[in-house]
Symmetry: C2
Subunit: 210 residues, 2 copies
């Protein structure tokens, strides 16, 4: 970006979508292509799996530690999934933002809602939609042996998530993953050029005028 030498505050990019809309692929592609954004590391109470690294994949906390962090207001958002607790530690995120680093969040509408309550000015939220009902159903039918009921339950969950699109800043229909990636990147470029994020512009203009 042309304004690279101007000090900038980082931003929090949220990608949400129903499963089957391509969010995970798009997140991975974005992280590979753009070194100025990195995935938010969550804290969790679920057990560490082989190959996982504390502080890289997750911060693995005991239930007591998680409760303590929660009571200290150290989470930007938190949730329970299948009986395990997950949360986004605030200090890591705010540290990154101050350093001009962007942070990516792969979270659902409930997590987005919590982030918005606490960090509205830093948040940029994108909702990814599948191209059609049929295509979504195809993507949610993973295996030939999936029963009609299993697919129907997945579709219902997806529809529930889709209903939250009006809470997002941007909406992208994922017809083509390369096009959708380019659009996410355009949003990121644009948001980085927003006046209020370029905290160094005042200094730059000061030099320009002297």
């Amino acid at each position: 970006m042309s304004n690279d030498n101007i000090q900038r505050r980082g931003l929090m990019l949220v990608l949400s979508s129903p499963s089957g809309a391509g969010k995970t692929t798009l997140s991975r592609m974005l992280l590979e292509a753009d070194k100025k954004i990195s995935l938010s590391v969550s804290a969790t109470t679920r057990p560490m799996r082989p190959g996982e690294v504390h502080g890289k994949d997750y911060f693995f906390l005991s239930n007591e530690e998680f409760e303590k962090w929660l009571s200290q207001g150290r989470f930007l958002e938190h949730a329970i999934v299948f009986g395990n607790r997950y949360g986004t530690p605030q200090d890591l995120v705010t540290g990154a933002l101050t350093a001009g680093q962007d942070v990516l969040f792969d979270i659902d509408w409930q997590g987005t809602h919590q982030l918005k309550m606490k960090m509205r000015a830093d948040l940029v939220s994108i909702f990814i939609l599948p191209p059609s009902h049929d295509e979504l159903e195809r993507r949610l039918t993973n295996r030939a042996q999936d029963t009609h009921d299993v697919v129907a339950a997945r579709m219902e969950k997806a529809m529930d998530e889709i209903g939250h699109w009006p809470e997002y800043d941007y909406v992208i229909v994922n017809y083509d993953v390369q096009k959708a990636l380019k659009e996410i990147q355009a949003i990121l470029t644009a948001e980085r050029l927003k006046r209020e994020r370029q905290v160094g512009i005042s200094d730059f203009v000061g030099k320009l005028m002297s």
Copy 2:
């Protein structure tokens, strides 16, 4: 854009900068590259010049006609430059926006301010800065015979305009015209993907869910 088949409300893109920052070149390049945006046609009381076309270059009005339009509230913004009156007719702009067409404005901070008062939600404003004081001075020194006073007066006018950067949504430093163009295009792509401009998303999601 992937969301091309979704009905969209157009936007008003304002490019402002001091002279010497490359705005005119960037506007021309943008218009050539992107057929979904066209330059706003202003009304003016100045005489038509050879080769100019009424309704294409300007709407050429008499002073009486201009006054009448003004009293009817038909201008989004208006100004006097060197004794001639200029104004942006509202009906043309709102017609374009409703049809999903974007409109480009090459106006100064005063015009931008007037547009903002009337059309805040449709307005996207970008301020283009020159890369340095020296480079700006070079660009404002058109001819070898320019006296120090002439250049100094141009610089003072440029500095006055630059002081208005905090009133804009985005700030781009024009180090390189190709990079700056790409950044303007990224902003345009992003703004077109904003949820509130995609007025057809509700219908699209309706079909998705049925």
